[in-house]
Symmetry: C2
Subunit: 378 residues, 2 copies
């Protein structure tokens, strides 16, 4: 039996979610069923599936847990780096190494305090070998520069390209937004590194003066979603606009995506703000939303569970508590559909495709849920 009262109390260590309840909904091309696999997660942020089908899930406060598809939430994995848990900061994304089965590397992005003791912080990426319920040989492979005193716009997502590069998406730290246009810092950048943190020699600004060599693309605001296109192998990202102007981009090496000098952001009353939409030398978004849907992560759906969605982009959203499905033909958006409206009813922080082809969501809530979306067609 489902026991919501008991579950609301359960916040850590070995929670069994009980018999899951499911709700169904209709979409344009599939009927779907949403099943709460687990709840009681504290502001979960990132999901990564392990080869055995379990999920690793980050909680923003700094906890990493293994969650079974039977609803069992594991105890906190030990030896996770300390995080600055404040405002938008905390433990953020998690990814596993493409060769995890051989090397056990797990990658975490998080808000890191200044190791020198200053008041600033920045997004950092660490990796450790997951052995049992412990991270071993933990090392920081990326440290955003400069450390900056702000609780906002850390990004981030971690995705591996088919060539084995690790992309880390970052934010402009809000009050440092102008930094997104200069190359001597990591604010408002997408960076590309090797999994050990070394810098690829062919990075666009490697060896250039006054530029940080990790930078892949710049002029971003707060990139909280990223995925690799399954056919082209290209990186796609999605970022929050200011008040409107959420953007999908296909970041090219060395390109400038405009923030804050070019944006489709609009003001709260929907009137335009002073920023221009087109500025010479900046790249237009691939697709954008006005008003903002408050994008979190994105995936390309490739599973068999939802045949009509294969090849489509699914963008999860916080404020609007939905998933936007973009029907693609090549890279071109042909159509947008709102999925899971009034089905999830919580802010959606991450979306991933499971090994079974179902779609998994975590919700940005004190009583955060892991939800599986499966096919309910007759």
């Amino acid at each position: 039996m489902f026991k919501p009262a008991a579950l609301a109390l359960a916040t850590a260590s070995l929670v069994f979610a009980g018999n899951a309840i499911a709700e169904t909904a209709q979409t344009e091309r599939h009927n779907v069923e949403a099943t709460t696999i687990a709840e009681g997660l504290s502001f979960p942020w990132g999901i990564a599936f392990l080869p055995n089908g379990d999920a690793l899930i980050t909680e923003k406060s700094g906890t990493l847990r293994r969650v079974g598809m039977n609803g069992v939430i594991g105890e906190a994995i030990t030896n996770v780096p300390d995080v600055v848990y404040k405002s938008q900061g905390g433990l953020l994304d998690v990814a596993i190494d493409p060769n995890f089965a051989d090397n056990n590397w797990v990658y975490l992005s998080y808000s890191e305090a200044d190791p020198a003791g200053g008041e600033g912080n920045s997004t950092a990426v660490a990796r450790g070998k997951l052995i049992g319920n412990n991270l071993q040989e933990v090392e920081v492979i990326f440290r955003g520069a400069p450390k900056y005193k702000s609780g906002a716009h850390f990004g981030s997502r971690l995705v591996f390209s088919p060539e084995g590069y690790l992309f880390v998406t970052l934010g402009d730290r809000y009050s440092a937004m102008d930094d997104a246009q200069t190359l001597d810092n990591h604010h408002g950048k997408v960076v590309r590194i090797w999994p050990d943190g070394s810098v690829p020699e062919d990075n666009p600004f490697a060896g250039k003066e006054d530029a940080l060599p990790e930078i892949w693309s710049y002029g971003h605001r707060n990139v909280q979603g990223a995925a690799i296109h399954p056919d082209s192998g290209a990186l796609w990202t999605v970022e929050h606009g200011p008040k409107g102007g959420d953007e999908i981009n296909i970041p090219k090496a060395g390109a400038n995506y405009g923030w804050p000098i070019a944006t489709y952001g609009v003001d709260y009353d929907n009137s335009i703000i002073s920023e221009k939409t087109h500025v010479e030398g900046t790249v237009q978004p691939h697709y954008y939303w006005v008003p903002s849907i408050a994008t979190s992560n994105m995936i390309f759906y490739t599973g068999d569970e939802f045949p009509a969605w294969q090849g489509d982009v699914l963008v999860a959203a916080l404020k609007t508590m939905k998933v936007a499905r973009l029907d693609l033909e090549g890279d071109r958006v042909m159509h947008e559909e709102d999925l899971f409206v009034d089905l999830v009813n919580q802010r959606i922080r991450d979306i991933e495709q499971g090994p079974d082809g179902a779609i998994y969501l975590v919700t940005d809530d004190r009583n955060g849920k892991l939800i599986r979306i499966s096919n309910a067609d007759e």
Copy 2:
């Protein structure tokens, strides 16, 4: 003073609209003002601007009128071809010759009865020289084949390409939908002819057996919107889907746009219908809507009145009484905005850009209006 009572009675000949009333609304990038230039038009269908700034407007019942921007509606222009005014049939689109200033040719599309006296009808195109308030030297330059007994899906729009070809967009006649996939008829086709009705030698099916030489593209459902892209010179069309699946296409010579074997149409309860979305040998839509917005005509906006909309597609809609703005980068749709919702409040049958850069709409109503949308930014 504005006298609605008097206007409601006025249905023909020399109506002065009185002092126009205007309403304003906000959009993402411009404030707009809607002014009713004229009303009392009987189900107006097509608008074409004359070099002097007057508009020619068709009324579905078979009347063509000159309407001044001061609101003066002229008497019926004489010698317009007889039309079959029934259900969706009647006098449809109007276009003026690219060399109108020299040759006075006006082109009309309409539902034509079978000249042999049969019960069928089809879309036809006639042209005549507009001299004063009279059409002279009227000749039928295109006659859809076969004549078919149906009151539905006649298309049509008339647009000239930069090379001087005349594109005529057609419908599948509803109950003859399967004909859209065969080339021995004009149902569900876009055709390309010279302005005198002769067939261009390089038409894709010219000289082919069992194919009508006028055909440019096929597999369309009911194409009621068309425009030429201002940069590429390519034809773009918009067609009604069945119950969902309204499509923008960029019809290429000889290509098959899928209807009725491939469609994004969905049923009234939003569940999928049996038709496939992808069929080998058919071209995916450039962009589509589910549910249907009930598209009528489209333009590419190029004027100075709304600088932020330059290069955008504007698609007018009947059922949803709005205009969809598609922000383009090249041919790619980056964003869609609903314009003029709760501003027009009538089904919009045609949209054109005026010589002044303002946007002109006619509404599909017994008391149809000609509305000017102008810039109300401060």
